[in-house]
């Protein structure tokens, strides 16, 4: 031990011990240059949360957090198309969700996600801000499918639903002609992140499997997953940028799909008699206690069956209809609120295919790969961060936002740290992790 006599005496004199210091390891960017970091992705990259894009979500996107961590080492400018209003906006025109009190059809009041405002900041989606404050390093565009990454005129409303995205329209360099990838390349990024494919699975799942099946694994850019992804990564690599790509989480584990149990139909003796009198002729029998909900199924002789274990009910189901109007019992749940075994199988096999493409793309292009899927798996089984226990429970879990499928700021910070871990591994850098305890979770009234 080194004792420094003079300091020691001074400390004794002042009767307060001198503050000990611990030498920290030196921070380093290693082989990357994040001076111009461009983030490419969908909802998560944009900071979409609580069922809307909002400024609080945007400033807490993992891309923004990554940029903030880079800037602890070097000066970088990372601009995001931050919304001006506080209500947020989704494609239904609604505001973001907050936790509030809701009174249901049985006149019972409980804590529940409610809309912050009667409507979202609709006008912000119809105003292009590229000329005023563009371009934007955060090119995360909610609701973007991978096939649309280099779709020219993706900001042009004339192209119609499916070929047009208002979130991109807002920040496009040229609404009529530009594509997301062009606008990203146009910034000459020195570093990039790619988090794509999650929305392809999500859009199918959010429709209860009623919309188009996610794109094929193989095919040219704009047709197949691998061609579209390669176009993105190779274009960015072509200008000398280094990057990182994240794979896709198993979205069927999100609280949006796991919160409502398949057998949440609790019946008393009287209910059983009523239901059996209706359904016994159709071959369905109910008993006292927990029963599977009924669901529409066109392949059944009478168009109805009981849900099976492992099938998932979406959080979009109108709960008042379930509680008071017999949905799930006398009225089968419409198909769009349910993921059947078949649909779940499609999602899982697409997930496997896409993730193996993402891994091989990272290898063939020699960029960092972050296993976002295993990250979500660890969250789902529960984690403890600095004494805070978190899991994937809806609202109370800690890292999902109130929509049950997008991360809240705590979750985004955890994800950013997973990215940093992979960057540090791949590029021999020592970028500090974000202090997750500095980020907010669900706000309780």
């Amino acid at each position: 031990m080194q004792l420094k006599p003079i300091i020691l005496l001074a400390c004794i004199y002042s009767l307060s011990a001198c503050q000990p210091e611990i030498a920290a390891e030196e921070l380093s960017l290693g082989e990357i240059d994040p001076t111009t970091y461009v983030a490419i992705g969908t909802e998560g990259t944009a900071g979409y949360a609580d069922d809307a894009l909002s400024s609080t979500g945007q400033v807490n996107s993992f891309a923004q957090i990554l940029a903030d961590q880079f800037s602890q080492i070097t000066t970088i400018n990372f601009s995001s198309p931050i919304l001006l209003g506080t209500a947020g906006i989704n494609l239904d025109g609604a505001s973001k969700l907050i936790l509030g009190y809701k009174t249901d059809c049985k006149n019972e009041t409980s804590l529940s996600p409610v809309r912050l405002a009667p409507q979202g900041d609709i006008s912000e989606l119809s105003t292009n801000i590229f000329g005023a404050i563009g371009p934007f390093n955060n090119m995360g565009i909610p609701n973007t499918r991978i096939l649309d990454m280099n779709l020219s005129g993706y900001g042009n409303s004339a192209n119609g639903a499916g070929n047009y995205n208002p979130y991109y329209s807002r920040i496009a360099s040229d609404e009529a002609n530009s594509s997301i990838l062009q606008d990203a390349i146009g910034q000459n990024p020195t570093f990039y992140s790619v988090q794509l494919g999650d929305h392809d699975l999500l859009s199918y799942a959010l429709s209860g499997g009623t919309s188009t099946i996610p794109p094929p694994a193989n095919g040219a850019a704009g047709v197949g997953f691998d061609g579209s992804l390669n176009e993105v990564v190779q274009s960015l690599n072509g200008i000398g940028a280094k990057g990182i790509i994240g794979n896709i989480p198993d979205i069927t584990q999100f609280p949006y799909f796991t919160t409502i149990p398949y057998n949440g139909l609790t019946l008393n003796a009287e209910d059983v008699v009523t239901l059996n009198s209706v359904f016994n002729p159709l071959g369905l029998t109910f008993q006292e206690g927990d029963n599977p909900f009924t669901v529409e199924d066109a392949s059944e002789p009478f168009g109805v069956r009981k849900l099976e274990a492992g099938e998932l009910i979406l959080l979009s189901i109108p709960l008042d209809s379930v509680k008071c109007n017999g949905m799930g019992s006398i009225v089968p749940i419409p198909d769009k609120y349910v993921l059947s075994h078949n649909e779940i199988t499609i999602l899982k096999s697409k997930l496997t295919e896409y993730n193996s493409i993402i891994l091989s793309t990272s290898q063939s292009n020699n960029i960092a790969h972050v296993d976002v899927n295993s990250f979500y798996n660890s969250l789902n089984s529960g984690i403890v961060y600095n004494g805070v226990s978190m899991d994937a429970n809806f609202v109370t879990g800690g890292f999902f936002s109130l929509d049950g499928r997008n991360l809240n700021p705590i979750g985004q910070a955890l994800l950013a740290n997973k990215y940093i871990e992979s960057i540090n591994d791949k590029y021999n850098s020592r970028i500090p992790f974000a202090d997750v305890t500095k980020f907010s979770g669900v706000i309780f009234p």
Partner: protein
């Protein structure tokens, strides 16, 4: 017990010994790394070796206090964020009274009041471990009436009954964010009592050599009906009801073997070896009287292990009135890897001490000591996953006044 009220009853961050044990029970011993089980000099032997107290030749009243100034720092792994403690000055104190019933009696009676366990640590606002701990104040005061009997000129036996009074106040944040931007908070506050004993034997086979063996029993501080005060967002108040809690904190047993040699009239060398039963502290449990789905009883593993502490000290008498002292101690940490907490960041440690004794006439003596120690410990806590390096340094100057009659 007026003396008690003079002190602020704050105890320091535990930089002075292992776990939350505070080894500041006598200024003459503190000058010699708190060795003194076999070196009987004054009434503080009531603590160090009740068997040796009967070898003190006077009636004595002695009061002393130590000012502990300690500062800690935490460097978090991965984020490289640092946080400091803002621990207030601690003042562990002692009060000893030793009396013989009549002149030349072999029987001595004494009362010892001391603070053998305690800790005060307060981490800076908003630190990244605040959901594990923001503040801990732990205090225990032992009252020990003691009988010491000199069987022969060479052997003394002593026994003290211990009544302990304790106070705990533990605070941390709760990860429930309110609309005002503040996280929830809980304060667990309560007082407790415990019983124990302190026995010792002192043997002086020759003028040059003495041996001491003591046993201080474990004291279970039982906190009954402490108050858990929750501050949470309004919508969660029924899930975190403010109410009573119970808990027990074991204060470990200590076996000490001491040896002292006096090669000549001026020099004395003392060696103590403590064996401390920290294994008793395996769990920090809080039993909330009213449980809810969000508020369950907690059982935090501590898994302390039994440890040895070695203390070597020397005293040299420069003149009849003046003695100088120095010592060095080495303690093994009871806190195992994976169990380091911000309550008691702890590590194997070396302590350095110096001391001074001065006699003023026949009746009065003044003793002073100074201790310096620091620890550094890197760990990832298995319960909270808090991961980083703790470093704590402390100075502890102390002073005691003794009146002999």
């Amino acid at each position: 017990m007026r003396i008690l009220l003079l002190f602020t009853l704050l105890l320091p961050l535990t930089t002075l010994s292992q776990g939350f044990q505070v080894n500041l029970q006598g200024q003459t011993q503190q000058g010699m790394a708190s060795a003194g089980t076999a070196l009987i000099q004054d009434a503080s032997s009531l603590f160090f070796n009740p068997g040796g107290a009967s070898f003190v030749n006077n009636n004595e009243v002695s009061i002393g206090a130590t000012m502990v100034a300690s500062k800690g720092t935490f460097l978090e792994h991965n984020t490289f964020a640092t946080a400091n403690t803002t621990s207030p000055l601690g003042t562990p104190f002692t009060a000893y009274g030793l009396f013989q019933l009549k002149d030349s009696s072999k029987l001595k009676l004494g009362l010892a009041v001391y603070t053998p366990f305690g800790s005060t640590v307060e981490w800076e606002d908003g630190w990244s471990g605040r959901f594990a701990l923001t503040r801990l104040q732990l205090l225990s005061v032992f009252f020990q009436p003691t009988v010491s009997y000199r069987i022969t000129d060479k052997i003394g036996l002593g026994a003290g009954f211990v009544y302990s009074y304790g106070k705990v106040n533990l605070q941390k944040d709760i990860p429930t964010l309110g609309q005002n931007g503040n996280y929830g908070h809980v304060e667990l506050a309560g007082t407790g009592h415990g019983l124990g004993y302190n026995v010792g034997i002192y043997i002086e086979p020759t003028d040059y050599l003495s041996i001491g063996l003591t046993y201080r029993s474990q004291v279970n501080m039982k906190l009954n009906k402490g108050t858990a005060t929750f501050t949470v967002p309004e919508s969660l108040e029924d899930k975190f009801p403010t109410g009573d809690f119970n808990g027990t904190l074991p204060l470990p047993q200590v076996v000490t073997l001491g040896l002292a040699v006096k090669p000549n009239d001026k020099l004395a060398i003392a060696l103590d070896v403590n064996y401390v039963g920290w294994k008793a502290y395996d769990t920090l449990a809080f039993d909330y009287v009213e449980n809810t789905e969000s508020l369950e009883d907690t059982k935090s593993p501590r898994n302390y292990k039994n440890i040895f502490v070695f203390r070597l000290g020397g005293q040299y008498t420069l003149a009849d009135k003046l003695a100088i002292r120095a010592g060095i101690g080495y303690g093994i940490s009871p806190v195992q890897d994976g169990y380091v907490t911000p309550e008691t960041p702890d590590a194997n440690r070396i302590s350095y001490t110096i001391g001074l004794g001065y006699k003023i006439g026949y009746h009065f003596a003044v003793d002073a000591s100074l201790l310096y120690t620091q620890i550094e410990r890197e760990d990832t806590n298995l319960e909270t996953n808090l991961s980083g390096t703790f470093k704590v340094a402390a100075f502890a100057p102390g002073l005691a006044l003794t009146y002999k009659f």
